[in-house]
């Protein structure tokens, strides 16, 4: 089970936790199959995030979801991951460096997704 921003809903995803509106009224039930169009509707109801079935996204620089949920072109994303993996290749034995790798990739992807260039 993992939490995703509603903008990231893909056709066929399965809801893992019920979604209610702000008055407690049921909007969607556990097990409901999601449609891509649900994203905008949920936002209109004030729901920003939902839980879907499936594994937690792998952290080790395979994470293709930048923090704000926007998708980057595949080549851009791949380049960032490639550089990061190369940079950290010789220090991966060290747990602290793995943490720094994951965090930095998250920040770099998010920044690029927002259209903010490199410094």
């Amino acid at each position: 089970m993992r939490k995703i921003p509603v903008e990231d809903i893909e056709e066929g995803m399965v809801l893992a936790e019920e979604v209610r509106d702000d008055r407690g009224g049921m909007l969607l039930n556990v097990g409901d199959k999601l449609r891509k169009t649900y994203g905008t509707k949920l936002l209109a109801w004030g729901v920003a995030e939902i839980s879907v079935e499936g594994e937690d996204s792998a952290p080790r620089a395979h994470n293709s979801k930048p923090a704000n949920g926007q998708r980057l072109p595949k080549e851009v994303e791949e380049k960032i991951l490639e550089r990061a993996n190369h940079r950290f290749a010789k220090v991966m034995e060290e747990p602290s460096m793995r943490k720094i790798l994951d965090l930095s990739v998250k920040h770099l992807l998010a920044r690029t997704a927002r259209g903010q260039g490199p410094i």
Binding site: R87, F88, V91, L101, S104, H107, I119
Partner: protein
């Protein structure tokens, strides 16, 4: 003290082997005209040591160098500090920001001149960005770990790699060999330096810092930013500089001269009580800080 030609070099004998001293002598001993800091900086540093000195007196010292004043005020008025109204003279800047901050900005403005080389051999602009990034990261980290000093860490971050600059400008052959080694073996510049010359840019930078009569705290931070475990004093600033350098490389801020990243020392990780959530926040704030520091980068042009 060791004497190399006309240059007296004070090197801590516990931090340097005889071989290293020889190598350093070979690299920098022939430098006749090392970059000099404007005398204004030394005067200001001296003046603010006196607890009785007032803002107006220090303001006057800086104002004597018009170009430096102008650049300093540009930094004071940058989005980085976000003052609601423009500060138009140095004395006012000191009253608002304090002696140390203004002194550090004047230092930043004057050091920058040495990074302006148009030499195509090396990415000077990239090194400046990396240095500025490390300075900002150091300030962010110092506040986050509630360090005793949040001022000098900025200067330490800014100048930690100044040894690379010295070599790029004044030891061109050696630097070319180092860069070539880095290119062919895809290692840290640090590794190439140690392999070829048994000294690192930390030692070269510390030599320059000494020439510029910097306090031992700063000299030591420059000297040991890649070897923080050797620190016997001033651990805080050394550790913070060590981590800040690594964070900037991870975030691809500027260009340190190679495509790798140094390993963060376990001693430092424990001593600063680092954790993921702290580093996550740091990274956000580092980028925020740099976005606001556009004026600092503009000064390069």
């Amino acid at each position: 003290m060791q004497h190399f030609g006309n240059t007296a070099v004070a090197i801590d004998p516990t931090a340097c082997t005889a071989v290293q001293t020889e190598q350093l002598k070979e690299l920098v001993g022939n430098i006749d005209n090392i970059p000099t800091l404007p005398t204004v900086i030394a005067e200001v540093t001296e003046a603010i040591r006196d607890p009785r000195v007032d803002a107006s007196h220090v303001g006057q010292i800086i104002s004597r160098d018009q170009a430096l004043s102008a650049k300093t005020l540009r930094l004071v008025n940058s989005a980085f500090y976000g003052f609601p109204r423009k500060i138009t003279n140095v004395t006012r800047a000191i009253i608002v920001m304090g002696f140390n901050k203004v002194r550090n900005l004047a230092l930043t403005a004057s050091v920058l001149d040495t990074f302006k080389s148009r030499d195509k051999d090396f990415d000077y602009a990239g090194l400046w960005k990396h240095s500025l990034g490390t300075a900002i990261a150091a300030e962010v980290l110092a506040k986050m770990v509630k360090a005793g000093d949040t001022e000098d860490v900025f200067v330490s971050g800014l100048l930690h790699d100044i040894g690379k600059l010295v070599m790029a400008l004044y030891a061109k052959e050696a630097f070319a060999r180092i860069r070539d080694y880095v290119e062919r073996n895809d290692v840290l510049m640090l590794n190439a330096e140690m392999e070829l010359y048994e000294i690192d840019h930390g030692l070269v930078g510390a030599w320059l810092a000494d020439e510029w009569k910097f306090p031992p705290k700063l000299t030591r931070a420059i000297r040991l930013h890649h070897n923080p475990e050797a620190a016997r004093e001033f651990q805080e600033i050394i550790y913070i500089t060590h981590v800040s350098d690594i964070l900037c490389r991870a975030l691809e801020i500027g260009n340190g001269g190679d495509r790798r990243i140094p390993q963060l020392s376990r001693t430092v990780w424990a001593a600063l009580r680092l954790n993921e959530s702290m580093l996550d926040k740091c990274m956000s704030e580092i980028f925020e800080g740099l976005d606001k520091a556009k004026d600092f980068l503009e000064l390069l042009k």
